[in-house]
């Protein structure tokens, strides 16, 4: 039988993918056009962001470990890995915040030019999703801690996990297009 | 005199058909093309209409037949529980595909006829859509005017279409396709008219408050008349001699008119508003909101909102004397 929660999450992710696709299209479309002012190549700090991105990517792995332990019923490990996941996600957000501040300092803003407009909109919405994911993970961690989640509710937790993996996957695309794309 | 009912009926029928005829010829612009491009579309349209009409008659015929034939009648037994037929499904999938393929072939052909390639030829005419008027520039002769395009009969003219603020759309139904005037994106359009006359055009893309009064006219003339018009447009108006008009000219230069308009021979050289150099020769005012004559012009200057509420021409609260002077001046700039 299908799990309602996971099916619903899969559908929700599909709709979110549709949403991000448009933001990405807008970025790519304007990236291909000549424009004045700052652009990806001269504004972005790729090495630093690579580091923070790796944190986000590895958070998918820690989450996976947490889920595995949930199915095995090893709750202390579940929590440990969840905390690791949340930590890595938070580091990523911290990195994004720093990058934003640096860009603002260089007068790269959402209203400066089309690079700013598309860059901040795209990465900003992604960051928002990371934040929501962190909150959801924190709730899950709290529930596990208080012993409210056991194998049987693993599906609800897995649904949150799907969301987190999706948010990660979106960053793979964004990082590839916005950051690595600026190299070519 | 006694009239036979048949004859009366026939006469009525004739009148009716006659009315249709007259109606057809005079009023349905898109069915009365005066350019080869428009004619190509009209032919296609009529052809497609016939196909669609046949389909409609077929569908509604089938429905009406079913309504009449299969209405429930007392005492009839349960109908057969027929749940489908692959043959029929095939039929009504294949036939429409065939019809549409045919329509498609004609579509592709007509697209080329109705919108010929521009090639590398430079444009003859620059038309810029503004909130709520059309700027017109003859790129070769340098004539500038507004809301009125003159064309020599039978000659194909290439228009370069731009927009100054929002999206507008250039459409002269009897001369063919419409095409958008888009800020930051240039479009080209062939315009040609095979019969002298005045053809009305309009902005067909919603562009804000006064979209309804963004009309224009295409005046199609014999080549001689056209050349004469062009020469007249190129003339720089001389300062008037009559005192009231002279006062008007002074006012025009002192008031802010010069910040928005262009009037050859004065320091007014802006494009925020229509060119006024030969305003008095134009047929209409403010994108068709009024016919152009001294009375309406006076009304316009007194309070543009009364003629075209929301237009971008400010109300200067001019005194009647000032208005009279300005009108007298603008009327001399023929």
């Amino acid at each position: 039988m299908y799990s309602k929660a996971k099916l619903a999450m899969a559908l929700f992710i599909a709709s979110e993918a549709s949403f991000f696709a448009l933001l990405i299209v807008a970025y790519v479309f304007y990236h291909g056009q000549p424009q004045n002012g700052p652009n990806a190549a001269d504004s972005l700090d790729i090495p630093t962001t690579t580091f923070y991105s790796l944190c986000l990517f590895s958070s998918s792995a820690t989450l996976w470990l947490s889920e595995r332990n949930l199915r095995r019923g090893q709750y202390d490990r579940v929590i440990a890995w969840l905390v690791a996941t949340i930590g890595l996600g938070a580091i990523f957000l911290y990195g994004q915040g720093r990058e934003y501040l640096r860009l603002f300092h260089n007068d790269v803003t959402i209203s400066r030019n089309l690079f700013g407009t598309t860059f901040f909109t795209l990465t900003g919405f992604h960051g928002l999703h990371v934040l929501v994911g962190l909150c959801a993970l924190a709730v899950v961690a709290g529930l596990v801690l208080r012993g409210l989640v056991r194998e049987r509710q693993a599906e609800a937790v897995e649904a949150v996990g799907m969301y987190w993996h999706f948010v990660d996957a979106v960053w793979v695309v964004i990082f590839g297009i916005v950051y690595l794309g600026s190299l070519v | 005199m006694t009239t036979h009912p048949t004859r009366t009926a026939l006469r009525l029928l004739f009148d009716f058909v006659g009315a249709i005829e007259v109606f057809n010829l005079s009023s349905i612009d898109t069915l009365n093309p005066v350019s080869p491009q428009a004619a190509a579309i009209t032919r296609l349209f009529l052809g497609v209409l016939v196909i669609l009409a046949v389909i409609f008659v077929l569908v509604s015929g089938l429905v009406v037949y079913a309504i009449v034939r299969y209405r429930e009648r007392p005492g009839s037994s349960m109908p057969r529980q027929l749940a489908g037929s692959r043959k029929l499904e095939f039929l009504w999938t294949a036939v429409p595909i065939g019809l549409l393929a045919t329509v498609f072939v004609f579509t592709a052909k007509t697209m080329r006829a109705a919108n010929p390639k521009k090639g590398t030829r430079p444009a003859d005419l620059l038309v810029v859509g503004h909130q709520w008027w059309w700027e017109v520039k003859y790129l070769k002769s340098g004539v500038i005017t507004a809301n009125e395009i003159h064309l020599p009969v039978g000659k194909a003219v290439l228009i370069q279409l731009e927009a100054a603020d929002v999206i507008h759309d250039f459409w002269v139904p009897q001369l063919g396709r419409k095409i958008d005037a888009i800020p930051g994106h240039t479009n080209y359009l062939w315009l040609r008219a095979d019969r002298p006359g005045v053809y009305s055009g309009i902005c067909a893309e919603f562009c804000g408050t006064e979209h309804a009064w963004m009309r224009f006219e295409v005046v199609v003339q014999s080549p001689e008349e056209f050349t004469a018009w062009e020469q007249a447009q190129l003339k720089i108006p001389q300062p008037p001699s009559e005192p009231e008009a002279l006062a008007g000219m002074k006012l025009f230069n002192e008031l802010t008119c010069v910040n928005c308009h262009r009037l050859a021979g004065t320091r007014a050289n802006q494009t925020a508003g229509p060119d006024l150099t030969h305003l008095a020769q134009r047929r209409m005012l403010a994108g068709g909101a009024a016919v152009n004559n001294p009375q309406t012009l006076a009304e316009w200057l007194k309070d543009p909102d009364r003629i075209k509420p929301g237009s971008n021409m400010p109300n200067f609260h001019l005194s009647d004397a000032q208005v009279r002077a300005l009108v007298a001046y603008l009327e001399t700039t023929k």
């Binding site: 309602k4 619903a8 559908l11 929700f12 709709s15 979110e16 549709s18 949403f19 448009l22 807008a26 004045n36 909109t121 | 005079s26 009023s27 898109t30 190509a40 579309i41 296609l44 349209f45 497609v48 209409l49 669609l52 389909i55 409609f56 569908v59 089938l62 429905v63 299969y70 349960m78 109908p79 529980q81 027929l82 749940a83 489908g84 029929l88 009504w92 595909i97 549409l100 329509v103 498609f104 592709a108 697209m111 919108n115 929002v166 999206i167 759309d169 139904p173 396709r177 419409k178 888009i182 800020p183 309009i202 067909a204 919603f206 804000g208 979209h211 309804a212 068709g288 509420p309 929301g310």
Partner: protein, 559 residues
């Protein structure tokens, strides 16, 4: 699982006492707090009709203004606000919630479920929609309604040209409604996938369920597209970004691509459930199974896929290249084929049947013919050069009202007359229904047919007035008269509903001798929906019970 079944049965019996109908014992608060899919469904329908009244009044005001040339009844600003609000209201707050109301009421019943998969989410979807509608209308009091048209082309809808905050309310309202719609779509898909009763296989789903299932996928993918575009527009307006501002390098056309990538699926979102209703009603009143079940279902899937490939047919006048235009022409024409398959199958269902012309059936049959007119004029737009002439004219206004009014609205009325007894326990008056039907039929054609000709004569849409050209005044006057005939029709309907709720004949469980599961329970159904679900061995469970000897002739459908 036995114990589970037992408790469900008990709950069903208890539910028997408190039926969920128009008059709930719990009063207003009961409605507001309700998460029952039937109550939520009815709230959707009622809200949609209230908005229909508002949108209709806006239409009437426009028609009064247009009745005579050079009219000064409305200012241009007011007129522009009216058609913007009319279009937005009718699409987002009438057509969508009306159909969604039917969907959330009927889908669980038709598949033999107790409720939707996530009842609270379902209620939330409704409240978001209602809140969004109220927010849209609040703009009237907050500095003026939006006036850039229902598709708000940029840069006209940007801060530089639309100063009023109404434009921001418009954006926020549609974002909120869009979130509600996506949530609703997820709910329907999960419901259909996980909650079907024993024996209700996908191949036995009523077509209404099929079409809503497919439609949910359309919503799932289309609404986020709109929301992304709206968010960008809002960021432009509020944070001075440049997505769609040509003055600072943005593209005026990107918005159009985005909007129609949503907008075209959207027009099918507001017709597929209507197709579903027609697919239920025509067979019941023909006393035959639907003709070509698989083809009607499969054509829905085809339409859904195609609908994402045709968006630029709204942009033929933009000056895209011939190649692009040809692609979108082919795609648009292709949609006529699966739609035609439906039309022909509905017609074929009537053949050899015993047609009972109840009001529901009258509306359903009128739907076939009226929708065909609208569909055919749609095809004429897919023929690019014809679109070049007729886009943005009254010919287009005629097209969309034939599909939206002649399609969605007629089908919804058919649905109301058909399911009202289930909703309320009482039948609507057939005599008033007949008046309602004929007035609607005449009014609709009077209002909108003549607009085809006006468009061909060169009358653009969205003009607050027009010069006194030959015949323009007469034709516009006819159209206005038609709109008032429609007003009378709607008042008759309103009267019918009010009177029938109080004095209507009691319906019984299955007044039409229909065969889908919603008729296997009481009218209105108990909170738990079913006391007992009949065995499901085919597509028509109740028919199989009543006429075991008369099976579908393509062999008993089994899967």
């Amino acid at each position: 699982m036995k114990g589970h079944e037992f408790t469900e049965g008990i709950a069903g019996l208890v539910g028997e006492r408190e039926r969920v109908g128009w008059f709930s014992h719990e009063g207003l608060l009961g409605w507001v707090a309700s998460v029952d899919h039937k109550q939520v469904g009815l709230m959707y329908i009622v809200a949609a009709f209230v908005f229909f009244g508002l949108g209709g009044i806006e239409a009437l005001l426009m028609r009064i203004q247009l009745a005579v040339p050079n009219n000064h009844f409305l200012s241009p600003e007011t007129f522009n606000a009216l058609f913007t609000m009319h279009g937005t209201t009718m699409i987002f707050f009438v057509a969508m919630p009306l159909l969604t109301g039917f969907t959330v009421y009927l889908v669980p019943l038709m598949i033999g479920a107790r409720d939707v998969a996530f009842p609270r989410l379902n209620a939330m979807s409704f409240w978001l929609t209602l809140f969004a509608g109220l927010m849209l209308y609040f703009s009237f009091f907050a500095g003026g309604a939006p006036s850039a048209g229902w598709f708000s082309y940029t840069p006209l809808s940007e801060a530089a040209f639309s100063l009023r905050s109404g434009q921001d309310y418009w954006i926020l309202s549609l974002i909120v409604a869009g979130i509600g719609t996506v949530a609703g779509a997820i709910n329907i898909i999960v419901t259909v996938v996980t909650l079907r009763a024993e024996g209700m296989t996908m191949k036995r789903l009523p077509l209404f369920v099929w079409m809503n299932f497919v439609n949910a996928f359309l919503m799932l993918f289309a609404l986020p597209v709109l929301n992304a575009a709206l968010v960008m527009l809002l960021i432009d307006r509020q944070l001075h970004a440049h997505f769609f501002t040509p003055a600072s390098g943005g593209s005026a056309l990107l918005w159009q691509h985005y909007f129609w990538a949503f907008g075209h699926p959207e027009v099918y979102i507001v017709i597929l459930p209507a197709f579903g209703m027609i697919s239920e009603i025509i067979p019941v009143f023909s006393r035959k199974p639907i003709f070509g079940y698989e083809f009607v279902a499969a054509s829905t899937v085809a339409i859904a896929f195609l609908s994402f490939t045709v968006w630029a047919h709204h942009m033929f006048a933009v000056g895209l290249g011939h190649i692009a235009n040809l692609f979108f022409a082919v795609a648009s024409m292709s949609i006529a084929v699966p739609t035609g398959v439906k039309i022909f199958n509905w017609t074929a269902t009537m053949y050899g049947g015993q047609l009972r012309f109840t009001t529901a059936m009258k509306f359903a049959v009128a739907f076939i013919v009226m929708f065909t007119i609208g569909g055919l004029s749609g095809v004429s737009f897919a023929v690019v050069p014809i679109d070049w002439q007729l886009t943005d004219t009254y010919y287009l206004v005629a097209h969309m009202h034939y599909v939206l009014f002649g399609g969605t609205v007629l089908a919804s009325f058919a649905g109301i007359y058909y399911w009202f007894p289930k909703f309320s326990g009482r039948l609507l008056s057939e005599r008033l229904g007949s008046w309602h039907f004929w007035l609607t039929f005449v009014g609709l054609n009077l209002t909108f047919f003549i607009q085809h000709i006006l468009g061909m004569m060169g009358m653009p849409r969205r003009v607050f007035t027009y010069p006194a050209l030959p015949y323009w005044a007469a034709f516009n006057m006819l159209s206005t008269i038609g709109a008032f005939v429609l007003l009378i029709a709607m008042l008759v309907f309103l009267y019918n509903v009010v009177m029938s709720l109080r004095y209507g004949e009691t319906a019984g469980d299955n007044p039409w001798d229909a065969w889908t599961l919603e008729w296997a329970t009481t009218s209105p159904p108990p909170v738990e929906n079913f006391v007992r679900i009949p065995p499901i061995h085919g597509r028509r469970p109740l028919w199989d019970l009543a006429h075991p000897e008369l099976a579908d002739e393509l062999g008993k459908v089994d899967a």
